[in-house]
């Protein structure tokens, strides 16, 4: 960043001579210091997980949620400046609710992400505001069944005009990540925050695009990945928070909910075991190497 301090990085919405918007890059720096957040998309649902560093012993354990419910079927987790994350979530809730009041149906995850992308982008356009210091992961489930319109009464005609198409298949999982620039992509597995590099490496190993991982296993993988990503900052304690959204037949019935305590603990135990296992293997390997050297 050679242009730092040349004056082009002091105001938002200003390009530097080489075509960069520094304030947006700096906002992204704020994200890199935040606790790791990940999302995994599988065929039968979506998992969100976040590493919450414990900054004080006086914090109430299990409170201070970082994953927010936006609508019944959508959850958002953010990394970066926590208050900015809440602003982002609040906008997402407004979008979801206004979609419902216009269309009388839940907002598709793709549409929500699109609108949020636009909103975040608008905060890069003006010198009177600063960009969002968060990268957000939006996860949700678009209902696969034909939904009753909000407030609908009666079941409507069985056939003919306004009748229903039997066995029509729509919906599915949605996972998007929105960056401070307003850029967003859809993901099979998304990671952001401090430990994103390690988390991304782990996500890539899961071969998510093949669709072989199921939701419950994804919960366990998510827990493990947060533990792996935390490795580097081992000294600080952290709390794992996870939420999920399943199919209508699945455990959450298409709703965004916190992962039940029992499953969460199970996943955490498995994650710890996996990590310890790695350490032992490494140590053994090292020990073997040493022996060989001696020989």
């Amino acid at each position: 960043m050679t242009s730092i301090g040349t004056g082009y990085d002091l105001s938002n919405s200003v390009f530097s001579p080489d075509g960069r918007n520094f304030q947006v890059e700096y906002a992204a720096k704020a994200v890199e210091n935040g606790g790791t957040a990940i999302g995994i998309r599988c065929k039968d649902g979506v998992v969100l997980a976040v590493e919450k560093t414990i900054t004080s012993k006086l914090l109430k354990p299990g409170a201070n949620n970082r994953i927010a419910t936006v609508d019944r079927h959508v959850g958002i987790v953010t990394a970066g400046l926590v208050p900015d994350g809440r602003h982002f979530v609040s906008r997402a809730r407004d979008e979801a609710s206004s979609w419902r009041s216009v269309y009388k149906s839940p907002i598709p995850i793709s549409a929500l992400s699109n609108r949020l992308g636009s909103y975040v982008q608008a905060y890069t356009l003006y010198s009177s505001v600063r960009p969002f210091g968060v990268t957000a992961i939006v996860g949700g489930w678009d209902s696969e069944a034909e939904l009753a319109v909000d407030g609908q009464v009666g079941s409507g005609p069985r056939s003919g005009s306004g009748g229903k198409v039997d066995g029509a298949q729509t919906g599915g999982p949605g996972l998007y990540m929105i960056e401070p620039s307003g850029l967003y992509w859809g993901y099979y597995g998304a990671a952001t925050g401090k430990g994103r590099q390690a988390a991304k490496a782990e996500l890539e190993k899961l071969d998510l695009s093949s669709g072989n991982l199921n939701l419950v296993d994804a919960v366990k993988e998510a827990a493990r990945i947060i533990y792996v990503a935390h490795e580097d900052s081992k000294d600080k304690e952290f709390e794992l928070e996870m939420s999920w959204i399943s199919t209508l037949e699945g455990p959450t019935k298409g709703r965004h909910e916190a992962v039940p305590q029992q499953l969460l603990q199970e996943a955490e135990r498995a994650a710890k075991r996996a990590l310890e296992g790695d350490d032992e293997e490494e140590e053994e390997a090292k020990a073997n190497e040493g022996e060989q050297m001696e020989e």
Partner: protein, 260 residues
Amino acid sequence: MNHYPEVWGRPRDDVYGSYNPSYLQTSGPKTHTQSPAVTGTSVIAVKFNGGVAIAADNLASYGSLARFTDVKRLRIFGDSAVVGFGGDVSDMQYIDRLLESIDIRENYSAHGNTLNAKNLHTYLSKVFYKRRSEFNPLWNHILVAGFDENKNPFLSSADLLGTTYSAPHLATGFGAHLAIPILRRLFPEETPIEKISKEEAEAALRECLKVLWYRDARSLDQYSVAVITSDGIEVKENQQIEAQSWAFAESIKGYGAQVN
């Protein structure tokens, strides 16, 4: 026929007199709909020991036409409140969407939806009152059933004017005239609700709905019942009025075919 296009196709002035252009005025005071279009009839409800039972038939009438016959007029809010709607059905759908959005908003918090039936009734009565004060009423009469903050059974009514009242048993519409006397006979004032069982309450509702089906021309023999207890809400939709006997009709002057 003359060369003024604005009068072409109009009744001739020399025969019918000149047209009164005030009929075409688009300005004037802003007006709102002051009457219902598609309506539901009675809702009835009874408190019993440990809960509330509420019932309404499945009909939405368009004037005197039985227009929609599978309309669910009992709407569930959260995990322990039910709202029964009488009156305009599209206004009911509007309020139902309102309830939906409140439920979603309440669930943003980790503690979930903590609005009880009493809170809901307070809110809805204020919505009604605000709308009637704007001369744009929501044309409904509702019963809200559930629990209050002390976990006691709660039952209260609110109407299109924002009027509220409460009683151990309530009915709206025709039911206010036909069901209330029956309920008062079954559950006199001096009987504490602790003495009324869930089964008795439900049976009383079914009995009242039968009488309403006999005598209210805007009613239907298919109905829904919801029973709210501390265990949750049990809704039975598509119920059928059983053991009908129309023998009484023969003896009533003006009922059915016998007109004088």
